[in-house]
Every structure is written in C-alpha cells, then in structure tokens.
Amino acid sequence: MSLKQKILALATLPLIIAIMAITALVTSQSRDLAQNSIATFEENMLEAKRKELRNYVNLALSAIDQIYANAGPDDVVAQDQVKTILSALSYGEDGYFFVYDYAGNNLVHPRQTFRIGRNWIDLADPDGDLVIKNLIDRAREGGGFHAYKWEKPSSTEIIDKMSYSVVLDKWEWMLGTGVYLDDVIAQTAAANAELKSRINHTFIIVALITVPAVIAVFLTGIVLNLRERRLADDKLKELTQRIIDTQEEERARIARELHDGISQNMVGVRYVFDLAIRKVRDGTPDALSTMERGAEGLNNAIKEVRRISHDLRPGLLDDLGLTAALEGLTNNFTERTGISVDLVSVPFKNLLPADAKTALYRVAQEAFTNIERHARASHVDLRITSNRTGLQMVIADDGHGFDANSDAQRLRTTGSLGLRNMQERLEHFGGELDVRTSASGTILTARLPKSIYLSQNQEPAHI
C-alpha cells in the first residue's frame, strides 16, 4: 500500500467506523423502544381480554345466580337447569362456557359435546400443559387466568387461548370461559414486522448517506492526489527542460568554440605546413620560418583548448584542492572586475570528498557571479575555516545587498539557478546555506558538517 493510499484509508476509515457506530447505537435504541411499546401494547390487549373474560364469567354467574343460590349441594334438577343455561350461553363466534367438576369430568361444553361426561383431568395441550387440572386449580384459588393451546371451533386450528375460571363450590364445579389470542399474536407480529422493516429502512437511509459521503471523500482525495501529482510533474518537467536547455546551450557554446576557434586554427596550421612542405620540396630557403609559423599556430590551438577545458571544469579543484581552486577563481574575478578579494583558507587539504569540494566551489562561483552582476561591491572577503563541528565558508561583500524576492526572480530569469541551487547543493551533504543581506552588503555562509570529512588516517606513506 502506498503512502497516498494509506492517507486516503486513514481519512475514510474513521468516517466509516463512526457512521457504523452511530447506526448501531440508533438502531439498538430504537429497537428497544419499539419492543417496549410492542410489549406494552400486547399487555394492554391481554388486559382488555382479561377484563372481557371476567365480564363474561360474571354475566354467566348472574344468569345462573337465581337457580344456584336457591339450590342445595346435590340438587340435580338445579344442576341440570344450570347446565342447560350455560350450554346455551355464547358470545361472539368462538365464545362459549365450559364446566368441569373438581375431578376433571366435563359437564358442559357446547362446542365439543364429545367431552361431556368424560374425565379430562389428564388432558395436556401440545406444550404439555395439563389444561383442565390447571383451570380447576386457578378456579379453586379464588378465580384466575390460565393460558394454553386449544382448538378454535371456527377454524379447528390449535392456537393460544386464555381462559378465566371460577368455582361453584357448593357443587364442586369449575366454570370458565376463554378467548383465543390469535388476534393479539397477529397484531404483535405485525408490529414486530413493522419494527423490522423500519430498522431496515433506517439502514438503507444510513447507507444512502454514508456511501455517497465515503465516495465523496475518496474522490476528493483522488482528485487532490492527481492535482498534486500533476503539479509535481509540471515542476519536474520545467526543471528537466531547464536542465536540458542549459545543457544544450552549453553544448552549442562548446561546439561553436571548437568549430570557430580551434578547428579554424588547425586548418590554418595545415595550410601553413602544406606551404612548408612545398617550400622544402622546391628547396625554397625560407621553409623554416613557415614551419615556425605553423608551430605557433598549434600553440594557439593548445592555449584555446586549455581555456575551454578550464572553463568546463577547473583542474585546480582536482589537482590542488579547494583552496587553490578558490584562489584561481578569486584571482580571475579580481582581474575581470577590479573588485579586490581577500582569501583566507585552512592550510591543509584533502578534508572533503571530491563532490563536496565541487559543491563549495560552485557555491563560491555562483556567489561571485551574483556579486559581479548585482552587488556593486568594491571588496569581497572569502574565509574558509574548519573546526570541531565542520567546515564553514563565508563570502562577505560590501555591496548594496539585494531584495531576496525580486532578485531571486531576476536570478531565475537570467538563467542562473541562484540561491536555491546553492542551498540544494549543500543540503545534499547535510550542510546549509545562510544568506544575510542589508544595505551595507551581503554575507553568505555555507556550512558542511564534520561527518562528511574524509578520514585522515589513510596510509600516509603512499600519498
């Protein structure tokens, strides 16, 4: 993974994580809330059912009250009358009353008449609940509710049912009625389904917000990335072009010098020697002076080559070291410009690796070019010192200083890479460039760390 990808991931990952966390929190809270309200709703429905059941039972009790109150414990007639009344009583589609004695024998069951007269104390619903026994127990406890599974008469399905039972203790009977809870279950299920769909809905909305947001962050990152890369590319292209231009100019200059100077010179020499050959062949006496003229022409060519070679790279730097090369540079500078230069350097050499020497030399060269072009100085001090921390080169002129910004611009337009170039050359060796300029002159300080010094412990016997 590249650095850019890492940064992009770092930007989008927290966003995704935050959104997911918020979504999870909101979802779980809204689910809790909804489940609470569903539970309340269910409880309310059941409560209404209970009330209803109690009312039905009271209704039945008041219907038989007259007969039961006046009957004796074993009044079979009264008992039959009560059975008949209760068998006839019904409400709604599936509302009926049932009666069992304490032993579990069915006495009244208008919808399932096959139960009448038989004992059902051991009857269990699909969940294993001893339905009749429990109904009798609730009733004998003073009346109570019991939930179980029972066949719904209208649909003959086995579904949840809740019953309320009381006792007719004089006869040791249990009287009860029940309602089917399928509507409660259906409504709760509907509410649950709605909750689920609402959560899904929330998820979709969150996703609709998150995905575009993440994509936006990604796209922005990529666009910025591309833009930056294009800018960097442009800069690189510009730099490359400048290097190529400089190189081409340099080559053109050298080619011109070789062709116009040395080449013509050599052609001249050849003509002179051709002439000398003819003179010698013919026995003309002044062949000697002609040859001397040829030798002189060759010498001029040699001088020309020496000049070009020196311009390209000062051999002094390689042969005699930095101090000598700077001496050469400052001497030339003084001869050319009339600006005096004081050079004080260290008395030793071979301190720096060749490329660092070249860097310092080029920095000095650049500084002198700037002084010559812009500073209007009359004197320059060039000091090189070395101490425990490293090497320092200070070039101070007494010119009028410069404005860093506008002059930098000018330096660039004049084709010189300027201060920036000096700085980069030094930074390559872990060094630095410090330029202080004022109306009374410019002080340029180049520093190189001691860490780049060559080891002086080489075998000195073979210098």
């Binding site: 030798a295 060759l298 010498n299 040699i302 001088k303 020496r306 020196h310 051999g315 002094l316 042969d319 005699l320 101090t323 000598a324 090369a325 001496e327 050469g328 001497n331 004080v344 350097s345 260290v346 008395p347 030793f348 050499k349 071979n350 301190l351 070395s386 101490n387 425990r388 921390t389 490293g390 090497l391 760390p449 001691k450 860490s451 010094y453 002086q456 412990n457 000195p460 016997a461 210098i463």
Partner: protein, 215 residues
Amino acid sequence: MSNRRLIKVLLVDDHPLVLEGIQAIIETYNHIEIVGATCSARKALDIATRTEPDVVMMDINMPDLNGLDAIELFKEQLPHTRLLMLSMHDSREYISTSVMYGASGYVLKDVSTNEIIAAIEAVAAGGTYFSSGVSDVLMRMKDIQKPCGPLTTREQAVLLLVAEGKSSKDVASKLEISARTVETHRKNIKKKLGIATTAGLTRYAIESGLIGQEI
C-alpha cells in the same frame, strides 16, 4: 661543447606521445643525456635511485601519483636531484604550489624546444627557470605573503602523526623517511602554522577538525 658537463635528465609524463616527442627532440642535443623516460612517477623514483639524474622533468597531472606529491618524494629520497615541472597549466596556483613543494622550475608544454632546453640547463646549473608567461605570474605572487602558508601533502601527513602523539622516530619509520627529514618537516609545519610546541600542534589538529572526535 666538450667543456660542458653532460646533463642527465629523467622524463616523466603519462602521455606517451608527449614523452616520445620531447625525448626525440632532447636527444638531438649532445650535452643532454636521457637516462630514462617513464609514464609513472613511482617508476621514475626507482629509475632515479639507480641513475641519479641531475634533472627530473615531470608532468603534474598523472594518475596514481601526481607530479606535486612526487616532488616531495624525490626531495626526500634524492635531495640533490632538481625538479623541473612540465605542464599544460598556466594558472599561477599550479606554479606557486610546485615551487612550494620544491620544484626548481616550471615550463609550459607549449613553449619552444629551445626554451625547454634552456630550462633544463638553468635548473641543472643550480638555478631556477620559469618559462615566459610563468615568471611574471610568479613575480606578481611574490608580494603576497600568506601568514598561514598551506601545508604540503607530506607536511600534512606528518602533522597528523605528530598530533596523534607519535615521536619523530615513529613518524620516520611509518613514512619510510629519515628522522632528520621528519624534523625538517616539523620545523616547517611549526613555522607555517605559527605554532611553537607539539602540544600546540595537537590542539590545532583537534580544533580544526583534522583528528579525533568523530561526530
């Protein structure tokens, strides 16, 4: 002609064509004998110890051992041999450095053969010779006296060893030169740096970052 002593010359130049050319020209002069012509300063040292030339005419730019450092070695091993530098460079820094290292003359390669012969004669006779163009450069240089003259390669090597606490004898055996030569170097170093004591030399080497305290 017969009253002139034969001058023994050793030629050192890493360009075979130049070497051949000069040799061919010099051989036409009867009073000069070429005792050797080689392209390496190290080989030249060997030849010189056998042939004891009066004048070693040597190029400055040579691979392996350059002409300047070779001057010092010649001076150490053959103190009576005179060194004449033959160079393409007309920069005063080359000339002044050659003189500092102990050369008796400096001739540009592009001067006439006559001048080269004159230079050999002058140097062999115990004088100095600087070819036209060189001498006026040297004249201008004379009045600039540097307070802190640059050390030669050998002097720098000696300074480092002395600063590390080595005795003259140790230095001599390490550099394979005589203790007397080391003493001479020491004297010159102290004079050039303006430092009187050995402790001062050590302190100077440390403070200028030459030795010790690697950062």
